[in-house]
């Protein structure tokens, strides 16, 4: 579990760092970005896990989202893992941008070809938190999760599958109902096989109906001019309907004029960090 520091840059009195380590779950070298707020120098801080979207690495969020200022202010550590195992030499790994490398979909693969390395769900929910709490001044009792697009899907399922583990959850333009959208179907089919009952355990819309645990307060921002919204990849309405049905509190904000990019993310990231801070710092 040795961590190798790849980079360290002072940022808003804290440090934005990148580390590399050998992942036991993923059987490969993995990198993650971590922002340590100034408060981390004097005590333990809560952790917000940020799950990025398709094609992203640990770099996208830390360079584009502009989350550090708000994180520094609220004393929150932000951990940004990569989106999939890399360099595993699996056949077809790099064939498409929406499957394989950069598209781990935060599931534990069950198909033979992928099941050794593509265990992003366990990596995110088990290995990484353990790694963080044992190497950084992180309060393992206080963690939240958020993400963008595929990462939004990841954040939702992690929260819904682990009641109480995350104090709060939010998402930017999440893939809300992957079973019903082309991206999700391709990925689930590839990683989990054709048995759709297996898919259900990684579908937020399905999971929310079965959720039982501490009340969640889900914040979702969605750009109205998001091309993938129009393409039916994200399907927030299905999720909202399920939540309304289940009386799960969701604030869903359809932001006029915004698209799917990190420009959209950085426009509202401070709202989301505040949302998490409300629960993490309560």
């Amino acid at each position: 579990m040795a961590l190798t520091q790849v980079s360290s840059n002072k940022c808003f009195d804290g440090f934005q760092k990148v580390f590399e380590h050998d992942s036991t779950e993923l059987k490969c070298k993995m990198r993650f970005g971590i922002y340590l707020p100034p408060k981390a120098e004097s005590g333990k801080c809560p952790v917000l896990y940020w799950l990025s979207g398709l094609t992203c690495t640990e770099q996208n969020f830390i360079t584009k989202a502009g989350s550090q200022q708000e994180a520094a202010e609220h004393g929150i550590i932000i951990v940004c893992p990569d989106t999939s195992p890399r360099g595993c030499n699996i056949e077809g790994e790099d064939e498409s941008w929406d499957f394989g490398t950069g598209a781990g979909f935060y599931v534990n693969a069950t198909e033979d070809q992928w099941k050794v390395n593509y265990r992003m769900y366990s990596y995110i929910t088990e290995e990484l938190p353990h790694l963080i709490s044992s190497n950084f001044p992180a309060d393992s009792e206080r963690m939240s999760i958020s993400g963008h697009s595929m990462g939004g899907h990841g954040a939702l399922i992690c929260a819904l599958k682990n009641p109480g583990k995350y104090k709060s959850v939010s998402a930017f333009a999440p893939i809300c109902n992957p079973m019903q959208c082309p991206w999700g179907q391709k990925a689930f089919n590839g990683y989990l096989g054709s048995d759709k009952s297996k898919w259900e355990s990684y579908d937020a819309t399905v999971l929310v109906s079965a959720y039982s645990g501490p009340q969640l307060d889900i914040l979702i921002d969605q750009g109205r001019d998001d091309q993938f919204l129009a393409a039916g990849q994200l399907l927030p309405d299905n999720f909202i309907a399920a939540c309304t049905e289940k009386k799960t509190p969701v604030v869903f904000r359809l932001q006029q004029g915004y698209d799917h990019s990190y420009y959209f993310v950085c426009s509202f990231i401070s709202n989301h960090i505040k949302h998490h801070a409300k629960y993490l710092n309560a």
Partner: protein, 868 residues
């Protein structure tokens, strides 16, 4: 010291100052003033140690008793025993025999040590002088050395000694020993005068070294007292009762001399120690230790005695209990004595005042008498002179008259004689014819002459004219000797602060000090606008007769000016009237308009009515913070000089306040109004029903609004300018403070509403949120779903919420320019407006369909609203 002097030196004409004692008195006074010329060098010592100033004066009297003297002399006589005892103790401590001289040296050293510590005897001249004059006494003292011990033990003994000198002159000799003894204490500075001084400084050091002596004065005292205790005890059981008295004295002295109660406490503890020490000390004198206390004989005895001895049937108690009881008694006695001292002090100062007054009064009376008698004597002298000169005149006049009458008589006699002679002459004429010729005219002449009767009446009366002397005016003067002149016009004082209430004023005046006044007549009448003339003023004025130079005039009208003037009267007459002085009654208290008061966590807006018909000068707002710990509500802050009928008062958040208002005019502040209670836990406002749409009904408590089902014909309704005419809305009245505000609104799931804020002048004929002067969260039901809009200027972001709030929290923060909405049931942040509020905004509520909304305010803003 100076105070003490004042206390100690009564006016020179003090009645207490009998010739005999005058000298004594002055003597002690000299001592009191550090006695430059006094022989008693010890006196300053005593005075320096005296705690409360002025107490000494009465101490002198109080402790001026034979008993004290007796005790004193007794101790002197028993000093030998004490000394032995003391020596024994010393020996037991140090196992080194010591001569009497050495002992004395020790004492002396100790005393001087103490003296130095008390910071006295720094005036060498005084000391020397004192020493020289007291030399003989030093010798005496030397032989009675334990007296030193005594004196120091007695603490402030010299002070007590003073009155003895004063009161009992015959005791002088023995008393002079006291200073002498203290002189002895300082003897080391004057070696030649002291027979056994040879090794004295050395012995002092030795003493210090051997005893590991603390430099602390208190300890020294303690040690000394132990010694004296021991010696007391050694005098035998019969002395114990007295000893108790003695220690009480000691304790009292200490207590009185120490301003610091802690010291007093220590002192009493100290006494306690002494008492406990007692049995042990006695053991030095006897072989067996008394272990019980005989209640009947009041002495400590051995238990053996209880069983077999003379105390056989006596009730006994444990020594410790007996000591405790005795201590309690002593303490009680002490308390009583202290009370007495206080009483006597009061009484004495009162007496002094009376003394001065009486003296002055008599002086004045004497003067008066003298003046009057002088007048009378002058008048009498004048009268005498007038009278004597009158008599002289009368005498002269009468004598002159009598004389002239006498002269006339002589003349008449002469004429008559002539006539007789002439007749005789004629008669002698023999010649008949000649005779007849001559006789006829002569006879005619005589007849003519005798025809007029001679005037034999006295021309002047023998009686005195005005022989009755009129003394009536003198008598009147005599009578009026006791009558003083009519007083001069009193001087009426201007109104002083806090001298009036809403219905009364206290008027004060003064008179010239020589005047004697039986009573005053105080006239007053209200000052009316427009009446300037002073004539007829007396006629409709009210009048009260008072004996004092002040009067509280009652039953006046609040907030009104009154003219006052006063005349002084005595038996002689009435003075001219004083100047007119205008006094003003204070206003009636204002009335707080509780329904119009509003608050937020850091301020409150208080509104009130004057409560007076006439205008007042200003208003004062008083705050009392109500705390849970303290029940009393002291005014913690006052805001004065408020010219208007409202005020915004800065407060601390999370507190409760009682707020009062007073109206103020030149007469002073009114009574305070009934309070309004302000809680600064949250923002508190009320709905302004003037703005309510006619279809909107407001509950009795003013916080719930209903939009009824019944259709109202809008044409029948008249709208005021302030009324919402289109949107069924109402506006609240938020306190105008650019801070943070929070309130909540209770809604039903299917209620269609608009909740938000608007500028006060937002269009009344528009919908909330449809313009740029209002911001509101709107909830409407569409066929498919609940729709939530966050309207401003007619547009809304697209926000969907999956849970329908039952209670909406609204947070307004002027500083950050944020208006945020929350689902309070979930602590869920729903939406935040970011806008710069140019003016103050007020909460607004509207119902789109029949239903109800309830406003909850005065509640603390939840923590989570900061994350919005």
């Amino acid at each position: 010291m100076s105070n003490e002097d004042v206390e100690a030196i009564p006016p020179s004409s003090s009645p207490a100052m009998l010739d005999e004692t005058t000298k004594e008195y002055l003597f002690s006074t000299d001592e009191g003033t550090l006695s430059k010329a006094s022989a008693e060098a010890q006196v300053p010592t005593a005075h320096l140690d005296i705690g409360p100033e002025g107490l000494s004066f009465y101490n002198m009297d109080l402790y001026e008793s034979r008993e004290r003297l007796d005790i004193f002399t007794e101790e002197l006589s028993s000093s030998r025993t004490e000394d032995e005892q003391f020596t024994a103790m010393e020996d037991s401590n140090e196992s080194r025999p010591r001569t009497e001289e050495e002992e004395y040296d020790l004492y002396t050293a100790e005393v001087s040590e103490m003296a130095r510590q008390y910071g006295i005897w720094d005036d060498k001249e005084d000391m020397e002088m004192g020493f020289q004059t007291q030399e003989p006494f030093v010798m005496v003292t030397q032989k009675q050395e334990p007296a030193v011990l005594d004196i120091k033990t007695w603490g402030e003994e010299p002070v007590k000694g003073e009155p003895k000198e004063r009161g009992a002159g015959e005791k002088r000799d023995s008393i002079h020993k006291t200073p002498a003894v203290d002189e002895g204490g300082s003897m080391e500075h004057h070696e030649p005068c002291y027979p056994s001084e040879g090794d004295e400084p050395q012995s002092h050091e030795q003493y210090v070294g051997q005893r590991q002596y603390s430099e602390e004065a208190f300890k020294e005292e303690e040690w000394e007292e132990e010694g004296s205790q021991a010696m007391k005890a050694s005098r035998g059981d019969t002395q114990i009762g007295e000893f108790v008295g003695f220690s009480a004295k000691t304790q009292e002295d200490l207590t009185m001399d120490m301003d610091n109660p802690e010291d007093a406490f220590r002192a009493s503890e100290h006494t306690h120690d002494l008492e406990e020490e007692q049995p042990g000390a006695q053991a030095g004198g006897e072989d067996e230790v008394p272990d019980v206390f005989c209640m009947e004989c009041k002495i400590a005895i051995r238990a053996f005695d209880k069983v077999f001895g003379s105390h056989k049937d006596h009730q006994v108690t444990k020594l410790s209990i007996a000591a405790e009881d005795t201590k309690v008694e002593i303490h009680k006695t002490m308390c009583k004595l202290e009370e007495q001292i206080a009483q006597m002090e009061n009484f004495a100062s009162h007496l002094e005042e009376i003394f001065i007054t009486v003296e002055e009064n008599f002086g004045r009376q004497e003067q008066n008498l003298e003046q009057h008698y002088n007048e009378v004597i002058q008048t009498l002298t004048q009268r005498y002179e007038d009278k004597t000169s009158g008599l002289e005149d009368e005498k002269k006049q009468k004598l002159e008259k009598l004389y002239s009458q006498l002269v006339n008589c002589g003349k008449t006699l002469d004429i008559s004689k002539d006539l007789i002679e002439a007749a005789q002459e004629i008669c002698r004429n023999e010649d008949k014819l000649a005779f007849l010729q001559v006789a006829v005219p002569t006879v005619e002449r005589i007849e003519e002459y005798t025809a007029s009767d001679p005037d034999l009446k006295l021309s002047a009366s023998l009686e005195f004219e005005n022989d009755a002397i009129d003394f009536s005016d003198v008598r009147q003067m005599m009578d009026s000797i006791n009558i003083v002149p009519a007083p001069s016009a009193p001087v009426i004082n201007p109104q002083t602060p806090n001298s009036s209430t809403s219905t009364s004023v206290r008027v004060c005046w003064s008179l010239f000090s020589d005047d004697t006044v039986e009573y005053y007549e105080l006239y007053y009448k209200p000052v009316l606008e427009g009446t300037t003339a002073d004539e007829n003023e007396e006629q409709d004025a009210s009048m009260v007769k008072v004996k004092e130079t002040y009067c509280t005039v009652l039953n006046l009208v609040p907030n009104t000016q009154y003219k006052f003037w006063v005349t002084a009267l005595n038996t002689t007459g009435i003075s001219p009237a004083s100047e007119r002085a205008v006094y003003m009654t204070v206003p009636s208290p204002p009335v707080i308009k509780k329904k119009l008061c509003r608050s937020c966590p850091n301020a409150a807006l208080i509104r009130w009515e004057s409560g007076n018909t006439n205008p007042v000068d200003s208003y004062t707002v008083e705050l009392c913070e109500i705390s849970r710990e303290r029940s009393e509500t002291a005014v913690t802050e006052s805001i004065v000089g408020i010219p208007t009928y409202e005020s915004v008062i800065q407060l601390l958040s999370g507190r409760s306040y009682l707020i009062y208002v007073r109206a103020v005019n030149i007469g002073g502040p009114s009574e305070r109004s009934d309070p309004v209670i302000i809680y600064t836990t949250g923002t508190f406002f009320r709905l302004n029903e003037d703005t309510a749409h006619p279809s909107l009904a407001i509950s009795e408590d003013g916080f719930t609004m209903f939009y009824g089902d019944e259709y109202t014909e809008l044409n029948d309704i008249t709208f005021s300018d302030n009324t919402f005419s289109r949107c069924v809305a109402i506006m609240g009245e938020l306190i105008p403070i650019r801070g943070k505000h929070y309130w909540e609104v209770e809604v039903e799931e299917h209620t269609e509403y608009r909740i938000g804020v608007a500028y006060e002048d937002t269009q009344r004929n528009g919908y909330l949120g449809a313009n740029n002067t209002s911001w509101c969260m709107r909830h409407v039901m569409t066929p498919s779903r609940h729709k939530y809009e966050f309207l401003h200027n007619g547009s809304t972001p697209d926000i969907r919420i999956t849970m329908h709030p039952k209670r909406i929290g609204v947070s307004l923060d002027y500083e950050t320019g944020k208006l945020a909405f929350f689902n309070t049931g979930l602590s869920q942040h729903i939406y935040t407006y970011k806008c710069h509020f140019l003016h103050y905004v007020h909460p607004c509520f509207a119902l789109e369909k029949p239903g109800a909304l309830t406003v909850h305010n005065g509640i603390e803003a939840p923590e989570y609203i900061t994350f919005s």
